[in-house]
Amino acid sequence: MFANVLDRFRALVLSLLLIAAVASPALAGPFEDAIGKFANDEFSDTDEAIGAVATSGNPLAFAIISALQDGRLMADPDSKKVYVTQPDGKIIDAATGAAVEKLPDGAAAVRLNNRLRRSVEAALGGLTLLSPDPAKRIQAAQSVFKTHDEAMLPLVDEALKKETVNAAKLAFTEARAAILLFKPDATDGEKLEAIATIKARGDQEAMALLTGLTGDQPAAIASAAANAKAAIQRSLALWSMVQNAWYGLSLGSVLLLAAIGLAITFGVMGVINMAHGEMVMIGAYVTFVVQETIRTSFPHLFDYSLLMAVPLAFIVAGLIGILIERSIIRFLYGRPLETLLATWGLSLVLQQAVRTMFGPTNREVGNPSWMSGAFELGQVTITYNRLWILCFTLAVFAILLAMLRYTALGLEMRAVTQNRRMAASMGIATSRVDALTFGLGSGIAGIAGVALSQIDNVSPNLGQSYIIDSFMVVVFGGVGNLWGTLVGAFTLGIANKFLEPVAGAVLGKIAILVLIILFIQKRPRGLFALKGRAVEA
């Protein structure tokens, strides 16, 4: 601290001495000298000035150079003074930073040619390397990594010395390695070290950098580079697998969410509910209504809209489900094909009803702040909404499983499913349990709608796009088995995402459908079939 003050004092004394010695009217110090050169209207002088300003470390340097780039740097040839017109129209003196009322009459923009423009860009890159914002520093280091311009080496070295943030330090080290690798007079040792650093980075850009290395390198370096390339290729392949697996998990969670209610109504009760997708859609519309109400009346609660929508969607969809069971489905037990047709008709009615109430177009459902954005994990970008949906799905699954196992209603549900008449003899009101089970399945579909409204268009057709997939998941996983549904959903999701890069999105989906059709031939009761002795299940 004290030394610092002493330094400054010394500099002050020195400049005072200089002023006295040269007796120049206003100019003092290398920075001010350099500024003056802008006014000479000579390209070579301007070039020198750019270099001097860029390395001066003066806080005005960035403003000056970027003004130069945009043609906002004005020079008065008579007074040799230079001004910066700021983007907001205010004018400052480039040498002192003092505000100026108006430009002198003779002032004109400092001219650039193509060579100078390049030096301006390089200087700007270098200046952001020293920016106070670590994110900007990292960005600058990345661009240096890509261009690996030798001239930047001293700046990078300097920045590296000063750097305290770890991520930025790494970025600078990598940028330095990139420069050294391409620097003709770097020693072999330096180059090998550089290759090791780049290999450790291991992404697409590192690969591009190593591929750009020309052939006339010493054998040791060429082979090290080749090894590094192979290693990077392996790691890239690995990361792309991880990426696909994540996408697959994400898709799987969506499938599971859509299918989990069906696993109850179809899997446990054996009711083919083709209106299941419409329950999902109703859940999404409940979310829309909740958000709409919040927007108009309580805007500050917007971040909690989903938390409110979840129980509401469960209740609304569940009640509609109970209504459907009481009015239609209970008359059709034991006639699965008729149930299928009646519920299909119901799905048409529900779709049209929603279309009449809310219009046929997509309605906007917003993401709360905690669900937007993304973060990087290694080389995989993970968006928060997908992550939340995965967690939410697993939570719903766990709660449902616990409910079936540990609550009285769950026990009754399982009893009725396994042996209806025996359950009735034991005093269970089977028709009440039927209604509640169906309501539960529908309610869960409604909850799924809340989550799916975050990643899909909320339109009357929302449910239709999930119904076939949901049935595939339940049938694939094995009817009557929630774990089968879980495994089925994630298997289908991951398989789909791994097929996609190979076959394309649509062909991948077709391939999955064909595979499921073939799989059902092999195991007509799904992955995890319930074992039983019945001839006809």
Binding site: I272, I328, F331, L332, P336, L337, E338, T339, L340, L341, A342, W344, G345, L346, S347, L348, V349, L350, Q351, Q352, A353, T356, I468, F471, M472, V475, V506, L507, K509, I510, L513, V514, I516, I517, L518, I520, Q521, K522, P524, V535, E536
Partner: protein
């Protein structure tokens, strides 16, 4: 043999049905062509095309009734066979356009020129001849149904599982046909047809002839279905429908019976599609939509499952209602009505129109016959023995 099969398969209602279809098939084209335009009895050309569409739907409904009503196979993917037949016919019609297309390419259809196809894909070879296309109309749906059924029935996929995978099948085909690089015109499908067998598809005469042919096809399809369901084979099919395992334990190869009838039904659906395309003038992937197949099932349910006549009747009635309602001020409510139809028919009218009518008519008729016989017997002074229940 054949006449015997025919006489056996025709009861009174079947004869009436065939007579009505034949009369419609002859009278409507005649009235369209011979009577002056604007005359009260003249059927306008657009109606001929519309009725032709209904007749094609009736054939599709017959094919569904054959497997659902008599063998218990609920296919939710029959629209796929219908559409495949339609595409086979559409491909022939596309090749007939020749150099009259927008781009004037003598070989490649317009959409291929537009999508920069260097040459005709191999699966389009041969479709410039009618007989080849006609064979394909039967062969492609038949082959798909055979492969699909062979896999499904052998591994005993039944009931709703079968329904769901047939739905997946048509869904997969829908996705495939939507692709431009699949070579079938992608989203737009095949359209802008000009000629069929040298006749202009738009001309009144051609439309009338197509209508007549559709009615003829309906009659033939009906006769085939009747022949199948009244034969011994048909008895086994009904046994499979009612108690599949028992039939298997009695020694019948259930899967072979199902496979046969499923393939036959798919071929019929293909023919229906092939007749549908020139009358409607377009075939696109929308025909593969799972909703279409399910809608076709409801025609059968409305008319009466397992009655054949009911299936054809249901197709015409539901589609007529659809035309009336979707073109009028009630259009926004059509889906409500269709949905309600699904629900009400399954809940209240499980036997459909014809089935309910029969249930009401048969006892009355039997009662009347019994009363007649009794009075006759009383006159003769002979006591009447009860009819043998086995008959």
């Amino acid at each position: 043999m054949m006449p015997h099969v025919l006489t056996r398969s025709l009861d009174r209602s079947a004869t009436i049905f065939l007579a009505v279809v034949a009369a419609v098939g002859i009278l409507i084209p005649l009235s369209n062509l011979l009577l002056p335009a604007g005359s009260m009895f003249q059927v306008p050309t657009y109606l001929v095309a519309l009725f032709g569409k209904y007749v094609c739907y009736a054939i599709l409904a017959l094919s569904i009734d054959l497997i659902w009503g008599y063998c218990g196979i609920l296919s939710l993917g029959h629209g796929a066979f219908f559409a495949l037949g339609g595409y086979a016919m559409g491909m022939y019609l596309m090749r007939q356009i020749g150099s009259r297309g927008v781009y004037g390419n003598p070989i490649l259809p317009d959409f291929m020129v537009f999508l920069n196809y260097p040459e005709l894909p191999w699966y389009w070879y041969g479709f410039d001849t009618f007989w080849f296309a006609a064979v394909m109309v039967l062969l492609v749906p038949g082959l798909l149904a055979f492969c699909f059924g062979w896999l499904a029935f052998r591994s005993r996929v039944t009931g709703v599982y079968l329904s769901i995978i047939t739905q997946a099948m048509t869904y997969a085909l829908l996705l495939a046909f939507f692709r431009n690089d699949f070579g079938f015109g992608g989203n737009n499908g095949l359209t802008d047809f000009k000629d069929i067998l040298g006749f202009n598809v738009q001309a009144d005469g051609t439309r009338a002839a197509l209508f007549l042919l559709s009615c003829l096809a309906l009659i033939i399809a009906f006769l085939i279905c009747r022949a199948v369901v009244t034969s011994k084979l048909g008895k086994v099919l009904i046994a499979v429908r009612d108690a599949e395992s028992r039939t298997r334990f009695l020694g019948y190869r259930v899967e072979s019976y199902k496979l046969f009838v499923f393939t036959l039904s798919a071929c019929m659906a293909g023919v229906a599609g092939a007749l549908y395309v020139p009358q409607v003038g377009i075939i696109n992937p929308g025909e593969f939509a799972p909703g279409n197949s399910i809608e076709a099932v409801i025609w059968v349910a409305v008319g009466g499952r397992g009655t054949l006549i009911g299936a054809a009747l249901g197709a015409v009635v539901v589609n007529y209602a659809k035309t009336v309602f979707t073109s009028g001020p009630l259009a926004p409510y059509w889906l409500f009505m269709l949905g309600a139809l699904f629900i009400l028919v399954t809940l209240l009218l499980p036997k459909g129109i014809i089935g309910t009518f029969n249930a009401w008519w048969e006892p009355w008729k039997a009662q009347r016959i019994a009363a007649n016989a009794e009075s006759a017997a009383l006159e003769d002074g002979v006591s009447v023995s009860k009819p043998n229940p086995a008959e």
